[in-house]
Every structure is written in structure tokens, then in C-alpha cells.
Amino acid sequence: MLSSIVSLSLIGFVSASVLFVASKKFKVYEDPKIDQVEKLLPGANCGGCGFAGCRNFAEAVVKAGKLEGLNCPVGGSAMMIEVGKVIGIEVLASEPLIAVLRCNGTKANAVAKINYDGASNCVVAHALFSGESGCPNGCVGLGDCVKVCQFDALYMDEQTGLPVVDEEKCVACGACVKACPRCLYELRPKGPNGTRVYVACMNTQKGVVAKKNCNVACIACMKCVKVTDSKSVSVTNQLSYIDTNVNAREHGPALIGCCPTGAILGVKIAGIKSVKSESNS
């Protein structure tokens, strides 16, 4: 009885001291800030920041000691300010972003001339042919973006055949931007009170060719440049691009009104019918 008590306590004592020595000798110092930052992060491990997960992002933030080039789009600017406080720097609030689909080739606008019944995957279809309407830059409508969205912010509109971005749910993680083989998504500022204006077309063909495939293609007529200025709107490669800094409230109605094909779309702009996709939010 006694011998077993003694021997067990002896083993316990020896083991404890080994553990104590090991913990002192092999201690790896880890900045407690990493844990603090990680607690603030959403914990979705979505990869929107460019790192494998939230922990890796927290490590990178603490190691760098600054936030240049580091941003968690999911948490938004409010959270990034908190993160800044932890690592001891002041962060200015940035504008919230949203994913915007730069194609309006709906089933009605870009009529299908051929019928594709192959594998339901955008990359496969993109490698095979230019698309059912013939537009080599337009949405093929097979929903790779919907599959990669972890926030349920995208769904396929059966009627138009185009994916729709849910304004409430989109956190601008950029997964759809990477997934789209035709680079149709862009992360643009949500704009003051959600007003924004953009060119919903990526077709770089000449106007005549582009118009054959899609009614609402940008034909690079330069009208949008004339109603504003060349800084706000630029036309390169037969395609117009509206700068993200353009004030949608001020220039929106003129820009949308001047476009002869209707390639320029606006959201929440007075007097103009909003895009179907975002009007419900």
C-alpha cells in the first residue's frame, strides 16, 4: 500500500519536472496579438484576403505591423479599424466593396444561336467555344461563381440565365472574381447610399461584331466619354470603363442616358430603373 503510494507520487513528480523543464527550454514565443487579431476575424477561412485561412492572415498582420496590402474584405472596414488598434496603428475607414457582374447578356439580350449540352462548368465551356450567343467575352451562365461563393451571395436567375449578386450578403471576398474564366466580376465600391454606375460589358470586339451577338454590348462609341471627361471614363480595346471614383449621383443619369445600346447600368439612381439584380435589396 505505502510502497505503491510512494512510487506513484515519485513517478508523478519526475514526470512533472520533465514537463516543466521541457516547457521552459523548448518554449516558442508567440505574439499574443496574433490570438487577439484572430478573435476579431470572421473565422470563415474563405481565403478572400489571399491567405489560406484567418490564422495565417492574423500572423501576417502582426508580423508586418502595418496593414498595407492586407485586408479582410469579409470583416469590412469596421473590423479592420479594430485590428489596427490591436497592432497599434490608426486605420482610416475604407469604402465597402461589392462584386459587380460586367455582363448583361441575358437570354433576351444575347440570343442563343447554338445549344450547348456539355459539362456544366464555365471553364470547360470557355475552353470549348465562344458561348451560346457567340459573344467571346460574355457570361456562359453555368454558374462557377455560384459554386465558389461561400456566403450564399450569388444565385442563378433562371429567367435571364445570369448570376445575381445579393447586395446584403456579398462581402467582396473576391472568390467569384478568381473563378470566372472570362473575368466578368469586378469589386467596386458600393457607393454613397448604394448608388453606383458601371459598364456591364466586357466585349472587346468591334462595335458591329459585338452588336450582332448581343443587344446591350458596348460598341465603344465614345459618347460616355463626351458627357463626362476622359479621366472618369476611358475607352480602351473597343470597351468603355467607368472609373470607380465617378460620382454615380452626379454623372449616373447622363452616362446611362447617353449610351445608345444600354450597356451602362446604374443602381439606385434617381429616375433610372435599377438593374433587376440589385433592385430588390
Partner: protein, 447 residues
């Protein structure tokens, strides 16, 4: 028949439907407008040397080869260059093309248009390669790899045997079959020329046993051509694949991961290519026309036509009796590896071996169900891959693992998809995997 040679691993046997094998090759009338793409071969597109308004004759150089792996493009018609613009080609995308309004049929003066057989080979090896290069000859089996590159044996390697691919394992297609029957002598001289360029003593023509007339015809002809022999082969798809054909005839195995036939001392050329080489070297005629099969179960007159490059597909369809009512798909190439066309205005190019019109019923894909791991795809893969696994990995975007599973070895023969009882789009996703893994490998090389 059972002692016939074939490749040992995998393979399928689709019913061959060679509807047009007994139809003599006819000459298709000239098109009104010819659209000649600048990229009809593997590698860099050619660079146009003509401009709008230029007068061209048959055989005039339109575009110069744009790199080491590239080929010259010649005019197949005479007339005026209307424009150099973009139009849809077989890839389904817009590509740069030279559009020529056809006026008459005037040929460049140096082209010998007589049909007499010219047996004597006067040119040296270097001259032959130069002529083949200038004539813009590419592999006419379908892959369109520039032929002159294949003829230049890299230093330190030695070609021992030339294999002439007369397998034509794709169902429906009969253009190579007709070339072997109708142009045998010219083709055999072409083979002699290639043998001289490669400095090899031995050439074997591989023909599947479903073409007994071609085997017999060539076997009697080759008696006059020492060094050339005919090897009948068991009918098995994809025997026309380079690696499979080499294995079937010589028993040698081309090494994996980027190995080339020359690594085992073999060079493979298509029968059509041999004919084109003959015409270029002996008759100074560049590659401007080829034999094409127009076929399909509901086509009125399936047949074989000698077609000028740049002729729209619709001309060929009209010649065969018009587009059938119940057409579902028009395919450029054979049913196994061919590509569905997006328009009938697409021009015939150097790599078009046939036009197949499928009925609506045939063209529809069977609805897919779940993989039951039956392993049929594994047993038919001629390269020993596991298509069901590659398919899953590709869907899950695990490209690093795909690379380890040797997805790049896939020759896209489609045997797996053909045999899959669940009709899964195996090949579509394997192509996706190849595409992405290719990108990974290239980005690694650049870094």
C-alpha cells in the same frame, strides 16, 4: 485474325460506320469566297504578307510562319484579297483570316499540275526539309503539327523506322482510306522522300484490318518500293494515336512525361502528309487542298471530296445533298475526338479530316448518373490512367494531385467517356484538369 498486332493496354471498339469507304474521291467546286485562317497548325499563328486588294494565285504565299513551331499558309484559290478580318473557325472563337474573292482558277506558274508520277528524288535531305517547310505542310491526321519540325531529327538521336499512319481508327472517316486506294503510288514516293529526309531504311504502313482492300492494294504496290512494308493491325480505337501505333507496330513504348517518338527511334507521319510531301517536293505544290469525308447516317450522299483549304463547310454539305432535316450536330473530325461546329460558315482547314453530321437523336448526351466505381474507364484507358479519379479531382480543383496522377499523359481519345455506363463527362473535366495543370507547369517554369 486474332494474331494481328495491336496495342496491349485499353482501347474500345466503336462500330465503324465507314459509310463512304467505297466512294471515289470527287473534286469539290471552287467556293465563291475563301476564308483562310492564319492559324491552322499547332504553334504560333502565321504572319500575313498580303494586304487588302492584292491579287493572288493558287499557291501564292499568304502568310509566313510565325516561329519555329509554325507553318506557312498559301492561297488555295486565285482572286483578290477582300480583307484580313476575324471570323469564327473550328475553335468556336473569332480568328484572323484572309478573305479572298475567288476569280477564275489561275495557278502559280512553277506548280506542276500534270498527273504523271515522278519517281526520281533529286533533292538532298536539307533541300527536302526546306521545301516541306516552305510548302506549309502539317500533320494531316488532325493534330496539325508542322511536318518539317518532325523531319529534323534532334542531334544525338537517330530515327530507325518511319511509321506511316493509315489506321484511321475514328468511326465514319474514310479520307485516308481513299488516299491509300487512289493515290498509292504518289503516297509511296512521298514515303520514300520522308525516308530520305530522315535517313531511315525502313518504313511500315500501319493499316487496320477493316480496310482489306487498302492492305491488299498497298501490299502489291510496296513490292516495287524496297524498305516499305504494310502491317495489318487489329481494329481497335485509339490505334491511330501516335503512342499506341508505335507500341502496336514496334512494341516500343514512348516515355511518359513529354517523351517523343524520336526518343525510341520512331517518326510517325499520316498517309495524307506523305501525299502532301510528294506533291510539294516533286510537283512544287504547297498544301492547299486535302481529301475530306462528308458523312453521317442521314446524309443523302456520304462521300469523299478533294477540297481547297478555306472552303466553307456549308459548300461541302450542299455537295453531299444538303443539310438533313434531323441534324443535331455538325462535327469537324470524327465522332470520338472531333469538335462540334458553331456555324456552317466555318472554313475547312488543314486539320479537317472529315465533316460528320449527327442526327438529333445521336447528338444528345445521355443524362448522367452517379459513378458506381465499375472501373470500365480504367480498363479502356490506353495510357493506364484512372479517369474516374481524375474527373473527381478536377471537379474538386485539386490540381497538384491531378499532376501527380499524370493527367498530362491523357491523349483525349475519349474512350473513357465512350464506355462510361453512367455517361459522366469524364473527358470534359480531364481536359479542364489538363488546362489548369498546364498553367501550373508553365508558371513554375517562368519563376
Amino acid at each position: 485474325m486474332s494474331d494481328l498486332k495491336t496495342f496491349p493496354k485499353g482501347g474500345v471498339h466503336p462500330s465503324d460506320h465507314k459509310l463512304s469507304s467505297q466512294k471515289k474521291t470527287l473534286i469539290l467546286p471552287l467556293p465563291k469566297v475563301a476564308k483562310i485562317p492564319l492559324s491552322q497548325h499547332l504553334g504560333a499563328p502565321a504572319v500575313a504578307v498580303v494586304k487588302k486588294g492584292d491579287q493572288v494565285k493558287v499557291g501564292t504565299l499568304l502568310a509566313k510562319s510565325g516561329g519555329f513551331i509554325s507553318a506557312n499558309i498559301h492561297s488555295s484559290v486565285s482572286g483578290t484579297v477582300a480583307m484580313i478580318s476575324e471570323a469564327t473557325d473550328t475553335s468556336g472563337y473569332l480568328k484572323e483570316m484572309v478573305v479572298i474573292n475567288v476569280e477564275g482558277d489561275e495557278w502559280e506558274v512553277n506548280i506542276d499540275r500534270s498527273t504523271d508520277l515522278k519517281l526520281e528524288i533529286v533533292n538532298t535531305r536539307e533541300e527536302i526539309i526546306e521545301i516541306v517547310k516552305n510548302a506549309g505542310i502539317v500533320g494531316l491526321g488532325g493534330a496539325t503539327f508542322p511536318t518539317h519540325v518532325k523531319l529534323m531529327v534532334p542531334p544525338g538521336k537517330k530515327a530507325q523506322v518511319l511509321i506511316i499512319n493509315g489506321v484511321e481508327c475514328e468511326p465514319y472517316l474514310t479520307s485516308d482510306h481513299r488516299v491509300m486506294l487512289e493515290r498509292a503510288d504518289e503516297m509511296l514516293v512521298g514515303i520514300k522522300i520522308i525516308m530520305k529526309a530522315l535517313n531511315v531504311e525502313k518504313a511500315v504502313i500501319g493499316i487496320e484490318s477493316n480496310k482489306p482492300d487498302a492492305i491488299e492494294h498497298l501490299a502489291s504496290k510496296t513490292k516495287d518500293y524496297p524498305g516499305i512494308s504494310v502491317q495489318p493491325l487489329k481494329v481497335m480505337y485509339p490505334q491511330g494515336g501516335e503512342k499506341q501505333l508505335i507500341k502496336a507496330i514496334t512494341g516500343r513504348e514512348v516515355p511518359n512525361k513529354g517523351g517523343l517518338p524520336i526518343d525510341v527511334g520512331v517518326v510517325v507521319q499520316n498517309v495524307g502528309t506523305a501525299l502532301a510531301v510528294y506533291e510539294a517536293v516533286q510537283k512544287h505544290k504547297p498544301l492547299i487542298e486535302r481529301v475530306i469525308t462528308i458523312t453521317g447516317k442521314s446524309v443523302k450522299n456520304p462521300g469523299n471530296y478533294l477540297v481547297r483549304i478555306g472552303t466553307p463547310v456549308i459548300d461541302l454539305i450542299e455537295a453531299s445533298g444538303g443539310l438533313p432535316e434531323d441534324s443535331g450536330k455538325i462535327i469537324s473530325g470524327g465522332p470520338m475526338m472531333g469538335k462540334a461546329l458553331t456555324s456552317t460558315e466555318v472554313p475547312i482547314v488543314k486539320g479537317t479530316s472529315g465533316i460528320l453530321i449527327m442526327t438529333d437523336k445521336e447528338a444528345k448526351r445521355i443524362p448522367q448518373s452517379n459513378c458506381i466505381r465499375c472501373g470500365k474507364c480504367v480498363s479502356v484507358c490506353p495510357l493506364g490512367l484512372e479517369p474516374y479519379l481524375l474527373y473527381q479531382l478536377s471537379i474538386k480543383r485539386k490540381f497538384d494531385r491531378l499532376e501527380n496522377e499524370d493527367v498530362m499523359n491523357c491523349c483525349e481519345c475519349g474512350s473513357c467517356q465512350f464506355t462510361c455506363p453512367a455517361s459522366l463527362p469524364l473527358l470534359d473535366y480531364m481536359r479542364l484538369g489538363k488546362l489548369e495543370v498546364g498553367k501550373l507547369i508553365r508558371s513554375r517554369k517562368n519563376n
